[in-house]
Symmetry: C2
């Protein structure tokens, strides 16, 4: 089996690759396991900490280059399409966002269609497809009203994946992801990047900036749940999914204050002091435009799950990253 992961050097791409290499095979609902022959990680950036394995291949290039993507798509059986220009970056540079988030996806869909193999595709969208005046809880049938170019491009992506799937060009499934926290690594250009920073940096004895007020609520999912969702979405059969190809994932609603409280309980009072509260009106505006509660009955019926609570998210991050707490050392 030949696997392509775009945005493959990002942390979710690497986790999928590591998991698949460990498993050695991938199993679809109702079918037997199939051996992993090759995993291609495609990205604009080489990234760090890639698994060392002869089955793994790294390719660097631009997703909006038709030739590159045509070559990439050759003979692939399954694709996780994670390449994206994130929210603040797509807002700051409209053309870059369109090139990667819209034209990049179109390139990939056309290249896969040209292969005439109807490969299975998991596409990463997010709750930024919602914005503006929203109901208290967004429903699966709530209209998409993005108030950012990133959200617009993701909403368009959901529509394209659905239509290319309906026509049998690909067997697509879109995951509408909550904000992922705690992300490992460094801050990125997502407006939501602070949601991870305020936990991650203090745990590493570093300072973090929080640009929003403590009572700001966010809708989050841990990397563990996100990885599970990526694998589960790929495994589900086309019959199970039917025509509706977008799956809005369950998430956890927490305020920033609750996150900081969890940090303090897990890692001590001193960690709270490492957060600098520096209000940023634009980030506050973008984050507040996103929904903080979503009803996701379909995803739950399909077996997708939210995290239990913020404490378990913080603890999982500590485990996954092998962090030694000061208290533990003492």
């Amino acid at each position: 089996m030949r696997i392509l992961i775009t945005g493959g050097t990002g942390f979710i791409g690497k986790r999928i690759a590591r998991h698949l290499l460990e498993q050695g095979s991938l199993e679809f609902e109702g079918e037997g396991p199939r051996e992993i022959g090759r995993i291609i990680l495609f990205d604009a950036f080489p990234g760090e900490g890639l698994p060392q394995d002869p089955r793994l291949e790294l390719r660097i290039g631009d997703i909006d280059d038709t030739m590159t993507v045509g070559e990439l798509a050759r003979d692939v059986d399954v694709i996780w399409h994670l390449a994206a220009v994130v929210s603040s970056a797509a807002e700051a540079d409209f053309d870059l966002g369109m090139d990667v988030n819209l034209y990049g996806l179109l390139n990939l869909l056309e290249a896969l269609r040209a292969q005439d193999r109807c490969p299975r595709l998991v596409y990463a969208s997010g709750f930024a497809v919602f914005g503006g005046e929203l109901p208290e809880t967004v429903q699966e049938h709530t209209a998409l009203t993005p108030t950012s170019s990133y959200g617009t491009q993701k909403a368009i992506g959901e529509l394209l994946v659905a239509d290319y799937s309906r026509r049998g060009f690909v067997d697509g499934r879109t995951l509408r992801l909550p904000t992922i926290a705690v992300r490992p690594g460094k801050p990125n250009k997502a407006a939501s990047t602070f949601v991870s920073s305020i936990i991650r940096e203090p745990l590493n004895d570093e300072r973090a900036v929080c640009p929003v007020t403590p009572d700001t609520a966010v809708f989050i999912s841990s990397p563990r749940r996100a990885l599970e969702a990526m694998l589960h979405a790929m495994a589900l059969s086309a019959e199970t999914l039917g025509q509706q190809r977008t799956i809005a994932l369950p998430g956890l609603t927490v305020t920033i204050a609750q996150m900081v409280e969890a940090l303090e309980r897990v890692a001590g009072t001193a960690t709270r002091e490492l957060i600098d509260w520096v209000p940023d009106a634009e980030i506050q505006r973008i984050v507040e435009s996103w929904p903080v509660r979503a009803a996701t009955p379909r995803a739950e019926a399909l077996g997708f799950q939210a995290d239990d609570d913020i404490m378990s998210i913080v603890q999982a991050h500590i485990e996954d990253e092998g962090i030694t707490l000061k208290g533990d050392k003492a």
Copy 2:
């Protein structure tokens, strides 16, 4: 004032042009009237019955050609973007639909953005953005769930016009139109074309084919109401519209049986005999996937109106097309 109408040789494009030429000026809400200097009708086909006027210019070309559209967009103040590959045609030829309905719109938006004048744009969408399992009455906040490539491309268009407007590249307003009936002229490749044919052809003493059952309901608007909406949408100020750039238009819900009954009452029993009932499962499927009732409080508050009843639609068609009924001759 320099005006561009794409799909300009279609019947709505011609009606807008004729109206503007008669008026001699166009007036925006809160501003004085501005003289019509030039109207460019752009289309892939030359069409027939164009108004003869030195202010009118016909240009033939492909909307998905970047050079052509860049040239077209130069110095235009207002644009009605009506060019489209209709539902059945976009379903039969996926690439053609994408080229015109998606890439054509992107070409136009980019050309207008490059002008850096933030021109006013009216974009024609339709209720085909809805499909599948729908509530009895679709609301303004009901999620778009197209079940055709045409509907997908129009839903994407709505999102693009909204984001290009939010960013100040254009001052766009999308009209989500009901099925227009009675359309003058010949049948086209819209799955809904029969909705006009079953009235238009019998009134001309010609036979018409109805591919759906008499109890099939449709959601329609007369050409008069559509023209009014096109002009009103252009006149509304950006302040009046705010961030929400899609206006779902009010329409009339009627069954095919009610339409035929109106035809009979207006033009005599013999007209009913001119309809051949030839069921077409695919057309029935597409038409049934569209909503037949829509709540449109925002459009109504903005001054858009539905037709009163099907009788008045049939009578308006007879008037507009100068049709002499047999009964009148006798």
